[in-house]
Symmetry: C2
Subunit: 224 residues, 2 copies
DNA sequence: AATATTTGTTAGATATATCTAACTTTATAA
DNA sequence: TTATAAAGTTAGATATATCTAACAAATATT
């Protein structure tokens, strides 16, 4: 029994996803960046890029930055859709904490079964965001980008809503848990230390919580 | 990022599972049988058996039948446990039909996350059987074999309970659906055609349903 | 018992995905 | 503007999992 894979191998899927996630405004990614992100040596990345280029999923030219083709972008978005739906399902329907779901979703995102993910989507009521506030691409790969600000860019006196977190590492999320910080929370900025940009904020029954710049940079908020 | 696999590769896991599933009373399996079942050529099977033998998961000697070691049996049972828990979860918690779940479970059984399957087990209330009536191995790999009889071995006048199905193919299960045949059903045997062993049975609001020997051989029943 | 068939093994090829070492191109700093 | 560093490529090796062709052993048939 040849284990059924879709059109792309598991390795290919992970490259596509990484290209999508690393692409900023410009939509381009360097070989080096990709190499570091995937923890795969540059020559290996180069050869995979040639392969994906032959499949018309990546625009590749020697020494130039990498860019997904339209089709490549679609495939990548489909995988990210599966990842984020899975995370939502694990949290909402299976009782996992937001700090536990990424590693499982990293595997389940490769399952080949449109029906499986449609069922998830349906049971979840067609969610638009994952448990970390990241948007879930729709079936056509379109993403509904919300205009968030970094908490670190806000000023004292502002009142904001925590909408998303940038770093999804278990450690970071556990830190947030320990301070009762979760999505949807209304936060007031009391003061900012000009020396190291540390913030003192108030929310719920935390009258004065001190958050480092490193943390504030990773919290995305809505200025309502 | 090296996709995390446990101690065994995906290919190895599929061989272990096949060895477990094909092992009858004696617990042994031939290279040829395994080859046919997995749809992989015999030389490939031989070389994998040498590899698994080196890892002490299979007893392998040239020209002798194959047998899982105690450790190999444990690993296989763990995968089958994940397969069957998954099938149960898909049916009970996600609303799939019993004819839809096998192919999805075939993929999810390879997910590496003890917590994920423990959660499933818990949410399901620690089930002992999967949606097709097959026993779910416990965490130590022990299987609670139930003493079923083939419906085809029963006699007219007997009243039995449908406990399990042998063939899990989507086609067979859809056939059963079309006749309202499902686990737990009480069936009375009305007559058996001696020529071709076709049975006429009665159950629920089906006063006289005719079932071929091929079908009856694949239905396991409890004589209560 | 001799022959034919089936089963299993060996040897060698292929595809995928990775690596290291050596070299080239591009970017940065003196 | 040359020298140095960083980024990227090429070439060749390795590991896994598969295949086909050829041969050998075990089993079944005459
Ligand atoms: Mn994630
Ligand atoms: Mn992944
Ligand atoms: Mn199954
Ligand atoms: Mn499988």
């Amino acid at each position: 029994m040849t284990t059924f894979r879709g059109v792309n191998s598991l390795a290919e899927e992970n490259y596509l996803k990484a290209l999508f996630n690393l692409a900023g405004e410009s939509g381009v990614v360097n070989v080096n960046e990709l190499s570091r992100h995937l923890n795969i040596k540059m020559p290996t990345v180069t050869s995979m890029m040639k392969k994906l280029s032959a499949k018309n999923l990546v625009h590749y030219e020697s020494y130039k930055p990498l860019k997904l083709t339209e089709e490549g972008e679609k495939r990548a978005a489909a995988i990210i859709r599966k990842h984020r739906l899975t995370e939502m399902f694990l949290v909402e329907k299976m009782g996992f904490g937001w700090e536990q779901v990424h590693d499982i979703a990293e595997q389940i995102e490769h399952i080949q079964s449109p029906l499986f993910f449609e069922k998830m989507d349906e049971l979840l009521g067609f969610p638009k965001f994952d448990p970390h506030g990241s948007p879930i691409p729709d079936k056509d790969g379109k993403i509904n980008w919300k205009e968030f600000h970094k908490l670190s860019d806000c000023k004292p006196g502002e009142e904001v809503i925590l909408g998303a977190v940038i770093n999804n590492s278990s450690e970071f999320l556990q830190f947030l848990n320990s301070r009762d910080l979760r999505l949807g929370l209304s936060i007031s900025i009391l003061s900012v230390e000009s020396f190291d940009k540390t913030m003192v904020v108030h929310y719920e029954n935390h009258p004065a919580e001190t958050l480092s710049h490193t943390v504030c940079e990773r919290l995305l908020v809505d200025k309502q």
